[in-house]
Amino acid sequence: MEAKKTNKKREPGFLRMETNLFDRIFIGVVIFVAIHLLWMRFLESSISLTVASIISLVLIFVIAKWG
């Protein structure tokens, strides 16, 4: 379980904040939703929504790992 890690003190990553894994996943999900909403509004007419999903999933991973 990740829970073990959540409480461990770690050096702030590129987000420059003290976060645990849950926080970073939360940030990731927030960004995931925001990207999708904005994508639907501005980009979907030209680029498929799947691209947004891929980008955001990558982002979630990056943030969770190094954020």
Binding site: A3, T6, N7, F26
Partner: protein, 284 residues
Amino acid sequence: MKQSARRKGLKQVFLYIVWIALTLITLFPIYWMFLISARSRVELFSNRNLYQTTIFWENFVRPLFQGVYGQYVVNSLIVATGNTLLVVVLAVLAAYALSRYRVKGGQNIFFWTITNRMAPPAAFMLPLFLLYSRVLRIGDLQLYDTHIGLILVYCVFNLPFAIWLLKGIIDGIPTSLDDAARVDGASTVGIIRRIIVPLAAPGIAITALLAWIFAWNEFLFATTLTSVKARTITTGLVEFVTVVGTNWGEMAAMAIISLLPALLFLVLVQRYIIAGLTFGAVRE
């Protein structure tokens, strides 16, 4: 020094002026509601005086004694008090846990509790309704239209608020006091009861007061999750909004009646709060 004494006097006068002005502004709408409740329907449109010499008692008598509103007041009392008891106890425990222990993801739990209160109410009524009338149901027993159902559902907005408020307050109580008590062999419950509760008493009182008032005044949950038996006074009020003329007089009368218990509660708790306020000691 003399000058400062005069300045102080002036400041006092100014302070009182501010308070009196605020009092008038605060009281005016309520006073107007009282005037409306004292007027008959004919008077409403013709009389716009800011005083009233006669009272149209029928506005009070009819709904209170001929209608079902007396029962609604009782329902409201039960629900608000039951919910406050539940909320305060649970919140003290939870706030203590979050304040004193390093719980895994404690910060996250803390934040999650408050998100419960953020939900825009409209869409959440349907799932609650289904939950109460279909899911949590044993035979004919269901949470729909019961006091206990309302007591539980009011936790959704009262519990997060109470936990947040109390955590801030408990955080302010030095941990050294707990440690001392623990050395003396007190259990966790003992510490909460003997150290935390007395020290946080004014804060708990305000929390209870606010929780009680929120529960007393709640409308949406009550109207969705009750029908006849557990109906509360606030939901009863909308009955006066009818096709043949909103009955402002009776509605205002009932509103005033619904305000009285809350007022009484407020006054009682206030005394307690003032007694506990250490700030009376701060002098200029």
